[in-house]
């Protein structure tokens, strides 16, 4: 599903933020990416969802070497990946409904086809009464739930989440993790970056620890 081999990454001429990172995510697996702030968790996720290119090493996604892919092949690959960004990155001028529907719209679906699914999903994350609310009028936790709903709505093959429970209360955090686990059970490969130990301990999933740009510990709880 995802394979990194000796991957290094630096921003511009700065120091390497990731060094000799090698790992593989099996299809249908659930993995926590942990480590202190600044360890490189977000940078590693950016490499996986193709927001950045590595400065060295090999990354393959869905069995395809990213360095060899043509630019025109990337959108189809990106649509197979759902991302929950740490800073949510919702479109402020669109309603919660339209934000969540965006991946389906990009995939060419019509509103009539996805309306019911999007409404159900928003209800499931507790926003059934706020379908038409715009992100600036939502609380941090509500925005995070919209971002999560947007990432999972198209049932992606790979789901990446960067601190997905950072702004919600423990009860909602648990509910969201259940949503990820549910998706995982139906075959989606999930990788969650977090430094919430309680969240990691609450499941028996694999943990990958990043410290100072290196994967120093890999523990399989399965």
């Amino acid at each position: 599903m995802v394979r990194f081999e000796n991957v290094g990454m630096r921003y511009g001429a700065g120091p390497e933020v990731l060094r000799d990172v090698s790992f593989a995510l099996d299809p249908g697996s659930l993995t926590f990416l942990t480590g202190p702030s600044g360890a490189g968790k977000s940078s590693l996720l950016k490499l996986v969802f193709m927001a950045e290119k590595p400065s060295r090493g090999l990354i393959s996604l869905f069995g395809r070497d990213l360095a060899r892919l043509k630019r025109a092949d990337l959108p189809a690959l990106r649509r197979r990946v759902g991302v929950v960004f740490q800073e949510f990155r919702l479109l402020d001028h669109l309603s919660a409904f339209d934000n969540v529907a965006l991946p389906l719209r990009l995939a060419g679906h019509r509103p009539a086809e996805y309306r019911r699914d999007v409404e159900e999903l928003l209800s499931w994350v507790g926003l059934g009464t706020r379908l038409q609310a715009r992100p600036p009028t939502l609380s941090g936790g509500e925005q995070q739930r919209v971002a999560i709903a947007r990432a999972v709505v198209a049932k992606p093959d790979l789901l990446l989440a960067d601190e997905p429970t950072g702004n919600v209360d423990p009860e909602m955090g648990e509910r969201l993790i259940r949503l990820f686990a549910e998706l995982n059970r139906f075959g989606t490969t999930v990788m969650i970056a977090t430094h919430d130990r309680a969240l990691v301990e609450s499941t028996r999933a694999r943990e990958m620890r990043l410290i100072d740009g290196r994967v120093i510990e890999m523990r399989s709880n399965r």
Partner: protein, 302 residues
């Protein structure tokens, strides 16, 4: 049930991918002003062209013979002699001597109708109409005229038509140059605004890109955004220019003209139609620049 029924119409259409950004009004205003100026320049080109054609048509096939008033000459006798020679020349349809009243009418727009004007020593004029396609030997004709009327001067308007043509051509070229400058200015303005819009919407563009939107999907959102904005704004500007020319045309028809020797500033309906090209052109420029800018910006992303 009833709630879903009331909610449905609002959800049937997906929200716009791009928000209408702040500052869009000033961009629309700039495009409208550019289109208005382009309309004036295009109208100027059409008026100059039409005037040059009418001048040439008015003077083509005509020559003028003047009997200059000098010393003890006998203009009336020389006029009669010249008219006789001209009338007997093959290729000349008719030769008509202008009366004193005709002469005064000719100079009236410049000198007025004062009594002193009537006593000025004007040359006597003979208007000569050539047969269609006739090319009489003007040098030989002038020699024969000089023999019978020593103060006769033959003017085939060649120099005058040449100067008029040069003047009209200069006006046409100047107006075309202004039109070209305005087109470049409009393109640059739209390109600048598109880039500014892209910078303002960088987050949206990057997010859509990361979510797997095709370049053409993102480009289309920008293209249509600027195409429609430029079309509406330029249509307003061109409409104002059209109204001005139409109003000037109405004044011409009512016989109200500010300066009698200037060409009429109105444009006929079929010429006004050309002004419709301006919004179409502005929208096309906006569309193309938006597309090029967005595609270039997207290619800078991974």
């Amino acid at each position: 049930m009833s709630e879903s029924a009331t909610r449905e119409p609002r959800q049937r259409r997906a929200g716009r991918i791009l928000p209408r950004e702040d500052g869009a009004i000033s961009l629309d205003l700039v495009i409208a002003v550019m289109a208005f100026l382009a309309g004036l320049a295009l109208g100027g080109v059409l008026i100059a062209q039409r005037t040059a054609e009418s001048w040439q048509a008015g003077l083509a096939g005509r020559i003028t013979v003047q009997i200059l008033p000098e010393g003890d000459s006998a203009p009336a006798r020389e006029v009669n002699a010249a008219v006789r020679i001209l009338s007997g020349t093959p290729g000349i349809l008719h030769a008509t001597a202008l009366s004193d009243a005709d002469n005064l009418a000719l100079v009236e727009p410049w000198l007025g109708r004062d009594a002193v004007v009537a006593v000025l020593p004007f040359p006597r004029m003979i208007d000569v109409q050539l047969a269609a396609g006739a090319t009489p030997d003007l040098t030989a004709l002038e020699k024969r005229l000089k023999a019978a009327a020593p103060h006769a001067v033959l003017d085939d308007h060649g120099r005058w038509i040449g100067r008029l043509k040069n003047t009209a051509n200069s006006v046409v070229f100047a107006a075309l140059a202004i039109l070209a400058l305005i087109a470049v200015g409009t393109a640059a303005t739209v390109a600048f605004a598109t880039r500014a819009g892209l910078a303002a919407h960088h987050e949206i563009v990057q997010l859509l890109h990361l979510m797997g939107a095709q370049d053409r999907f993102i480009a289309r959102a920008f293209e249509w955004h600027y195409f429609v904005a430029a079309l509406i704004a330029a249509a307003c500007g061109a409409a104002i220019a059209t109204l001005i020319f139409a109003a000037a045309g109405s004044l011409d028809q009512l016989g109200v003209s500010s300066v009698s020797f200037l060409p009429p500033l109105g444009l006929p309906l079929r010429d006004l139609g050309w002004l419709a090209l301006i919004p179409a052109g502005a929208a096309a420029i906006a569309w193309a620049t938006a597309r090029l800018s967005v595609v270039a910006a997207l290619h800078e992303l991974y």
